[in-house]
Amino acid sequence: MVRYFLQRSAFIIFSLFGVTFLAFMASRLAPGDPLRLMAGDQNLPAEVIANWEARYGLDQPLLVQYAYYVGNALQGDLGTSYHYIGTPVTQLLGPAILVTLKWESVALVFAIALALLLGTISALRHNTWVDTSAMTVALVGISLPDFALATFLIVIFALRLDWLPVAGYETPAHYVLPAITLAARPCALLSRLVRASMLDVLSQDYMTTARAKGLPERVVIIRHGLRNALFPVLTVIGILIGRILSGSFIVETIFNIPGIGRLGVTAVLQRDYPIILGATLSLAFAFLISTFFVDILYGVLDPRIRIAD
């Protein structure tokens, strides 16, 4: 287990460096000089430019700049915004991340709970109309892009029925439509997986044994069935968190939620590279950490993985 833990940790650290390195280099090699972007339309004298370059370390070789960036990042400094001149990136990212965490965790819990329910029911009612219709709905859910689904939801529930607000984030009612929009695809993917995994488990001998012991059906399904069916599902939850995180760009833009996604999109439109870089790295970091926890959890729950290593 220790070896497994160390292996996964080494992988995460390697990936983090890889991602920061590629992202940093790409952002520095991008067209458009940061100082000109900061200056906006003003024509700055060469001395001022040289002064700024020295101040921000832009006169150093790229590798040195990268080392500075990583060193500062480790101390919680991601530079300052070009657009909101002088404002530290972390000061803009922090509150946005909190907003995103808040509403996206609602979406994630909703997606997982519904997927477990739908997938299990489909597997238990294998090849009946319940199964077929649930899986057709799931395939439609996988297919429908966030923004198309959001459009339909807004028109129906906010405009025609007037049950829910169109956009914003002030009250829990504001979370409902964005959470459904964001949860739809992960939920659909997951329910298909739960169903397939559950079908495998249902035909195992230990299920027959459990029933033969006279355990109530509910206990057989939940304790013996679902628990074993969850292993393959767990890995995918890590990937789903990644999807949910990057889904925030579109869903937060549509519903006008001041989270990291909307901040990132605004920064892209303003070519505010420090924020773009900060947002990308925070999301990549969150994704890597979540896959790391899933991997570790997988190792804890499934002894075969520990022993194999």
Partner: protein
């Protein structure tokens, strides 16, 4: 075992083995959802190819006398905020979506196949380098990567194609590598090696053809992913720029008028959703048809 009347007797077919691709096609034809999806996509491709002939108006010509008109016989799906015909824009939008989807998926699949084959077949250092790169790409959520890359480039169709290709190749590389690893241990590869076939020859005429099934399925499903990503970037206003008629861009613009003229956002959403559904149903159908063992 005695064969009953009407039952298949295997050795009678020994002279003329069934063509597995033909068998797969038969199985596909029996899948109603996949057939309907394939027909829908064919129709869409025809519309996109013949857009110049079919579309009643120019997709970019404004007509300020007819702004945000609801559907009428003259404008089948109505007009947008500057009076452009929505039906024409959707048809031209199909051209962009399908073009980007097919080009990106083709290039990224080819790149992935080559790198995956090399990694899986040669192993060792080459494998490590390629797969570490794949790991890094996998550690970034795909759409996040696309948003980041496009933000660094000039917003046009070339940047979108480049970005989505870079984002896409690791999927086919990982798939192909796995297939190559499996194939390496098979008897036909060992036999080919024994008769002195060269590495490239083994990779491209033995390993690749025997790994095509999962690649075809992934290719089909991948087109949907690319189209969705392109639409997502255009929707955010950072992909292909207006006045180019992209579905994502149309939905984005339509959102501003969603209270008064919901048709502006709804029609492009419907066509985009149907296209995604069709590609996914077709991909699922292909998987079941090409590899019946995988069907649950």
């Amino acid at each position: 075992m005695v064969a009953k009347m009407g039952e298949d007797i295997p050795h009678l077919h020994a002279q003329q083995p069934n063509n597995p691709w033909l068998d797969a096609l038969h199985r596909l034809m029996r899948n109603r959802a996949a057939v309907v999806s394939a027909l829908f996509l064919l129709l869409l491709i025809m519309l996109a190819l013949l857009a110049d002939v079919i579309s009643p108006y120019s997709p970019t010509a404004a007509d300020f006398a007819n702004i945000r008109v609801s559907p009428t016989p003259a404008h089948l799906l109505g007009t947008d905020e500057v009076g452009r015909d929505l039906f024409s824009r959707i048809i031209y939008g199909a051209r962009i979506s399908l073009f980007v989807g097919i080009i990106v998926q083709t290039i990224s699949t080819l790149v992935g196949i080559i790198l995956g084959l090399i990694a899986g077949y040669y192993g060792g250092m080459v494998d490590t380098v390629i797969m570490r790169l794949v790991d890094i790409m996998y550690s970034l959520p795909n759409f996040l990567f696309a948003v980041f890359m496009v933000s660094l480039l000039t917003p046009d169709i070339g940047s979108v194609i480049l970005t989505l290709t870079i984002a896409g190749w690791p999927f086919s590389a990982r798939l192909m590598r796995g297939q190559a690893l499996l194939a390496k241990k098979t008897e036909y590869v060992v036999a080919a090696e024994a008769v002195g076939a060269g590495n490239w020859r083994i990779m491209f005429s033995h390993v690749l053809p025997n790994s095509l099934t999962p690649i075809i399925v992934q290719y089909t499903l991948g087109i949907a992913t690319v189209i969705m990503a392109e639409a997502g970037l255009s929707f955010l206003g950072i992909g292909i720029r207006p006045p180019n008629p992209t579905w994502g861009g149309m939905i984005n613009k339509g959102r501003e008028f969603i209270r008064t003229s919901p048709h502006l956002a709804i029609y492009p959403s419907i066509i985009l959703g149907l296209t995604m559904i069709a590609f996914n149903f077709l991909g699922d159908g292909l998987r079941d048809a090409l590899d019946p063992r995988m069907k649950k």
